[in-house]
């Protein structure tokens, strides 16, 4: 929160609303990451009021494209500790208030 405090007096930063997806942590391949990102954006925009449906949509699409056993978490505040198959995790933020975690573990 220190950063926020520092940023706030900085000027108009408070008013900026971020709508772009932001990768926080990912070891996916470029192609997969872009796909995951686009899917998340699509899903979150489509089901902006229903995180469950958004997560389901991302999961099912990812399963179709990259093989089964993907797991998706969409939410605004949660904590997690997961085991994932290497090169299949993507933890990102979207829309300034949502955190999406996609990983695969079968």
């Amino acid at each position: 929160m220190a950063e926020e405090g520092a940023a706030a007096p900085g000027g108009a930063t408070e008013k900026v609303i971020h709508t772009y997806p932001l990768i926080r942590h990912s070891d996916m391949s470029e192609e997969m990451r872009v796909e995951a990102m686009e899917l998340s954006v699509t899903a979150c925009e489509k089901f902006s009021q229903n995180n469950e449906l958004a997560a389901r949509m991302v999961k099912e699409s990812m399963d179709k494209k990259f093989g089964p056993a993907f797991h998706v978490v969409v939410g605004e505040s949660y904590g997690f500790e997961i085991t994932y198959e290497c090169t299949t995790i993507c933890y990102m933020y979207f829309g300034g208030n949502q955190a999406i975690c996609i990983w695969k573990c079968s």
Binding site: M1, H18, E85, G96
Partner: protein, 767 residues
């Protein structure tokens, strides 16, 4: 040979069957045969085996007590007599009875009475029964008879002989066991003995208790059976009966084949499981917010860095420590101090020139009617450029004392390797204020009137660049055309800044020997080229080396924009044509005039009348044209190639031209329509040529350059810059109107046919 003793039970003698003569005889035959075989063998192999005699003695060893039996006796048939009375029976035989603890006389065996101990229904069927007949008819039981039968019979016979000696009771048992259907006679013959065998145990059983008898019978019988089986099996091994057995419900054999079963093995491997890792994080609004802020700041920073790479690099280069900045600032101040000092020194050195420039007006002008002169003032030289020609020269539109010089070379057989862009101030004739050496000679330049420190240049190698005089020299140029993609393929002969584009970018035009007019948009970090027009010539296409027709472009040599109509421009070509073009047409000319017979070096619009322009050419002529007129209004022959012609900014009728023989001609059409009012030799015509000249926009000086890199600044004498005196009727009319009136008056005198508006005016009036 004594009969083999059988184990007895309770000392009871087991019944034996006595051998008959026939069996004895068969043994004898066998022996004889053996002997014969031996003999033939020895006789046949006598020769070879003689040496081995000692190894195998041939003599048959006979026991000493062997009875000599004559051949006749041996041949004699001995009948076998069977009697019903057991000769072995002892009438007074007693046996100890454990139950009574006393000896009791054994009871006499009962004959003819059999006690069945075990009843087993036989599987044999009678040969003459219907069933058997049916089977025989079907082929069972008969097949092997012919080949197996005789042989078997023979062996059987000999085997029987043997048995007679060794084991009298074996043969009947074996015979019974085998139950050969073909040897009916034998079976029938021996049946009595067979009957006898089961009878004897009963004898034993009857003597004692019933249980004992049962035990004895039970135990004796299998033993009895055992032996014949053993002996019989030996024989059976010898002669395998290949008789198809009669089929009945018990006698069948199943035929089946089973494939080989391969042993099973289990082979498995296990892949290495995909690598896994753990990750954990917490998503909270504050964390997300912070991360977005961070990223946003980074993006802003990146955006700033997105500025041209060269600039960024420069910025990086200039990113210096505080000490360095301080040093630089200090150096800058020192430099400024030095510049002032230099100017002071120069002012002292060139004091007389400065005085002349300021105050000296040629007094002789008063006496020379209309004629004037040029006073040479300063000479500007840049040492590294002594061998270069001044290819273009232009006063700065903003700073009246500053002019830019393009150093290149016009000697195309001995082209210089490099060029130079210099800016001189007349306050400091000793050294240029700005000088940058370029890798290719500079042929032309134009100073941007909106931003006077931006100079675009055209180079000998076809590139165009934009120089920013404010940048330090190490940066050299700010923009440069892409040498690979879109530079000109010939010398760039003239560049001119144009109007700003719709998006606000500055743009300039270049004309080159490759026949293209290109517009360059000054985008951030790059120049974007657009070909405006390709100058087609009226020369028909010529066949190329590989049969293709090559269209010839005419080489553009100069360009001049209409002062008011931004899309109209004049193009002079090396074949002397003057084309009026429009930015709107990229193929066709609005108008085309054969203006000269040699390359057109310069076209310049009059400052006061937009339909009047002057052109000069290598064909020694300067022509004054009016738009829409095919013939020039004025034509002057200067006796030498004319490098440049410029209208004076202060008068509508004055223009100056410089020639290759080193002279500057100044004309005032208002004073003299046929002769120049001033001819001034500026340089020696043997060694130098004048190339370009330019009027200062505010000061009464002109500057001209020569082929040895020297720029001469000349002062116009009063007669050359006569201003209009307003007529008494119209006092207060400004100078510009007067100048226009002056020119119009002049033109009305010159125009032979009545005035018709120019083509350009006609066509674009409505625009």
């Amino acid at each position: 040979m004594p009969p083999k003793k059988l184990p007895s039970l309770h000392g009871v003698k087991m019944p034996t069957i006595w051998p008959t003569k026939s069996s004895e005889k068969s043994i004898g035959l066998l022996l004889k045969k053996l002997k014969q075989k031996e003999a033939t063998k020895s006789r046949a192999n006598l020769a070879e085996d003689e040496g081995l005699d000692w190894l195998k003695p041939r003599a048959l060893i006979k026991p000493d007590d062997q009875e000599e039996v004559s051949e006749a006796d041996l041949e004699e048939e001995v009948g076998r007599v069977l009697c019903t009375v057991n000769p072995q029976w002892v009438p007074d035989e007693v046996a100890y009875h454990y139950g009574r603890a006393m000896f009791v006389a054994k009871p006499k065996p009962t004959y003819g009475k059999a006690y069945p101990l075990y009843i087993y229904q036989g599987t044999a069927i009678r040969k003459d029964s219907d069933e058997a007949k049916a089977q025989i008819a079907a082929g069972y039981g008969m097949v092997g008879f012919d080949d197996a039968g005789p042989k078997r019979a023979k062996v059987k016979k000999s085997a029987a002989d043997e048995e007679e000696e060794e084991e009298p009771e074996a043969e009947p048992a074996a015979a019974a066991e085998e139950a050969k259907p073909e040897e009916d006679a034998v079976v029938e013959e021996e049946k009595p003995t067979e009957v006898e065998v089961p009878a004897e145990p009963t004898e034993v059983g009857v003597e004692g208790d019933e249980t004992v008898a049962a035990e004895g019978g039970e135990e004796a019988e299998p033993e009895q059976k055992e032996e014949p089986v053993d002996d019989g099996s030996d024989e059976v091994l010898d002669i395998k009966p290949r008789v198809k057995k009669l089929a009945n419900q018990f006698n069948f054999c199943e035929r089946a084949a089973l494939t080989y079963n391969f042993p099973r093995r289990s082979v498995d491997t296990q892949t290495v499981p995909p690598p896994r890792a753990n990750y954990g994080a917490t998503a909270l609004q504050c964390i997300i917010f912070d991360f977005y802020q961070e990223d946003y700041a980074k993006k802003l920073k990146e955006k700033e860095e997105e500025k041209p790479k060269r600039l960024r690099k420069k910025a990086a280069k200039h990113a210096k420590s505080a000490q360095q900045i301080h040093d630089e600032q200090l150096a800058q101040r020192i430099r400024e101090a030095w510049a002032i000092l230099e100017r002071l020194v120069n002012q002292n050195i060139y004091d007389d020139i400065a005085q002349d420039y300021r105050y000296w007006d040629d007094p002789s002008d008063e006496f020379r009617e209309g004629m004037g002169s040029l006073l040479p003032l300063w000479k500007f030289q840049f040492d590294p450029m002594r061998t270069h020609a001044v290819c273009d020269i232009q006063w700065n539109p903003h700073y009246q004392d500053l002019f830019a010089v393009a150093y290149g070379s016009l000697d195309f057989t001995n082209q210089q390797k490099e060029g130079c862009l210099c800016m001189y101030s007349i306050k400091n004739p000793a050294y240029p204020e700005y000088a940058v050496i370029t890798e290719s000679p500079i042929i032309c330049l134009d100073v941007y009137h909106e931003i006077p420190y931006l100079v675009c240049v055209g180079r000998y190698d076809g590139n165009v660049c934009v120089y920013n005089a404010q940048l330090t020299l190490e940066s050299s140029y700010q923009y440069k055309s892409d040498s690979v993609k879109d530079k000109h393929s010939n010398i760039v002969w003239e560049v001119r800044w144009g109007a700003r584009l719709i998006d606000g970018e500055a743009s300039f035009f270049s004309i080159s020997g490759d026949g293209r007019v290109v517009q360059w948009a000054v985008m951030p970090g790059e120049l974007q080229a657009t070909t405006i027009i390709t100058l087609s010539s009226n020369v028909p296409p010529i066949p190329g080396p590989d049969g293709t027709m090559i269209t010839i472009n005419s080489c553009g040599s100069c360009i001049c924009f209409h002062p008011e109509k931004a899309d109209i421009f004049l193009v002079g070509t090396e074949d002397g044509m003057v084309h009026t073009c429009s930015l709107k047409y990229n193929k066709n000319y609005v108008r085309s005039v054969q203006g000269h017979h040699m390359p057109v070096y310069r076209i310049h619009y009059n400052h006061y009348n937009n339909s009047i322009y002057a052109s000069c050419s290598g064909d020694w002529r300067v022509k004054i044209w009016e738009d829409g007129r095919d013939e020039p209004l004025f034509m002057f022959e200067l006796g030498s190639p004319v490098g440049d012609v410029k209208w004076a900014p202060y008068s509508s009728t004055v223009f100056a031209a410089c020639t290759a023989d080193g002279k500057v001609y100044v004309y005032d059409l208002n004073v003299n329509k046929y002769r120049p009012i001033c001819i001034q030799a500026v340089v020696s015509k043997k060694t130098k040529k004048l190339t370009r000249l330019d009027f200062n926009t505010r000061l009464p000086v002109i500057v001209c350059g020569d082929t040895k890199g020297t720029c001469h600044v000349l002062k116009l004498s009063p007669n050359l810059r006569v201003m209009c005196k307003p007529p008494k009727k119209a006092q207060g009319v400004d100078q510009r109107t007067l100048q226009i009136m002056k020119l119009d008056k002049l033109l009305s005198l010159v125009r032979d046919p009545p005035f018709t508006p120019g083509v350009v005016d006609e066509k674009f009036e409505e625009d």
